[in-house]
Symmetry: C2
Subunit: 237 residues, 2 copies
Amino acid sequence: MTPRKSHVELYKKHHKHFIAIDCIIFGFDEGELKLLLIKRNFEPAKGQWSLMGGFLDENESLDEAGYRILYNLTGLKDIYMSQLHSHGEVNRDPGARVISISYFALINIQNHDEELVKENDAHWRPISKIPPLIFDHRHMVDLALEQLRKEAKIKPVGFELLPSKFTLPQLQSLYEAIYSKTLDKRNFRKNILSMGMLEKLDEKEKENSKKGAFYYRFNEDKYKELTARGFYFNIAI
Amino acid sequence: MTPRKSHVELYKKHHKHFIAIDCIIFGFDEGELKLLLIKRNFEPAKGQWSLMGGFLDENESLDEAGYRILYNLTGLKDIYMSQLHSHGEVNRDPGARVISISYFALINIQNHDEELVKENDAHWRPISKIPPLIFDHRHMVDLALEQLRKEAKIKPVGFELLPSKFTLPQLQSLYEAIYSKTLDKRNFRKNILSMGMLEKLDEKEKENSKKGAFYYRFNEDKYKELTARGFYFNIAI
DNA sequence: TCATTTAAGTGTTATATCTACAATTATGTA
DNA sequence: TACATAATTGTAGATATAACACTTAAATGA
């Protein structure tokens, strides 16, 4: 006798559809922006490169499905992920009519579960060398890149791709990878430090130089405090 | 024997879902930004205010469904419309589980078919006085407004809300309505005219002042030429 | 231990953009 | 012909952006 049950008959004349969730998973490693891609292990298009995906279940929200799929592949929770777009061309999937909703995630590549990734036959590929992908997955990737480039300028999402401690040269290298553009050290540092949301640590990273570069940490609380006062994150690219 | 048919069995174990399209339709009239809302004529929530929507059919894409629904309500084709977000909370619709994909459209309020709108029991409501809406429709409207405010700064979408001939005071009034903010006449004109995509006509609009204001027209070709050269539309708000 | 090498770290100036601000003009109406 | 109304126009100060080169810290090896 819930309202739910009493009206469902009215909707019955309409069609139902398969809904898939596909995840565009970005990581940053060796100065390059990378994507996590899988070799698809079922038909159609078995053996071809694909985004990680899955079908929407009966009792989960879209976001929950997205997080489930990401978790199953990487073992990661509490990840930055946001819905990108819904893809509904009638023949986009040759197996059946499937509406796919793409999500894009930014992960710290050090943290993921490498065993799980192996089990899923997933591999990191630099965005400059993306192999041909099934269906409209390449289009999804292009949308995600566009979205990442929009967001990274005006929201502190870049930090999601780095370890919690990072150096300014690393951070600059990340932005250079996202925008395929070399940036001026002095201007970049001035820009990011003047926003006042990075904490300098006493520790130095010494793998990449003799002098060593100081570690910094993104201070989320400080960022929230600033935005509450009308401040806007902005990186000049 | 198409691949389509050969693999559909593999997908069968998964659930199928109702998919609805809901349209947030913006217009601009009497210095106000307005929304086209309907009185829902079926259960559940019959008689309550709602966005115009409909279910996705078997053989149409998401975009096609959006245009179909917009056409059925307004008689308009070739309208600026873009996908906004997909809404999949399990209980968002008390009638049944329905995934809704929201679209937002910008229309020139003069052009729509008033008869059709009446037949659908649809009404224009200023965004400052939106009545309570069913389900998560208010959230959709808020997202659409946010999106409009993002886009109108950096893309020439505002013109979609105006007649093809408009005056600069009208255009300024539109931006003021979108951003709920009064703008400086001189700066606004300098800004928009310096982009070089508006054509001044010889004709004047004389309803709103004795002096009359010159009509202008948005030159789409010019805009495309400029963007091809790396130009970016930008209105300082 | 001192010279060399490597990447980190730092300021200033010119240019472009944004913001604030008020007088004049055209035209209809009394 | 005076008046009322809204359209139209420019400049100067402030702020943000972009260009540019030397110094410093520390490891390495002669």
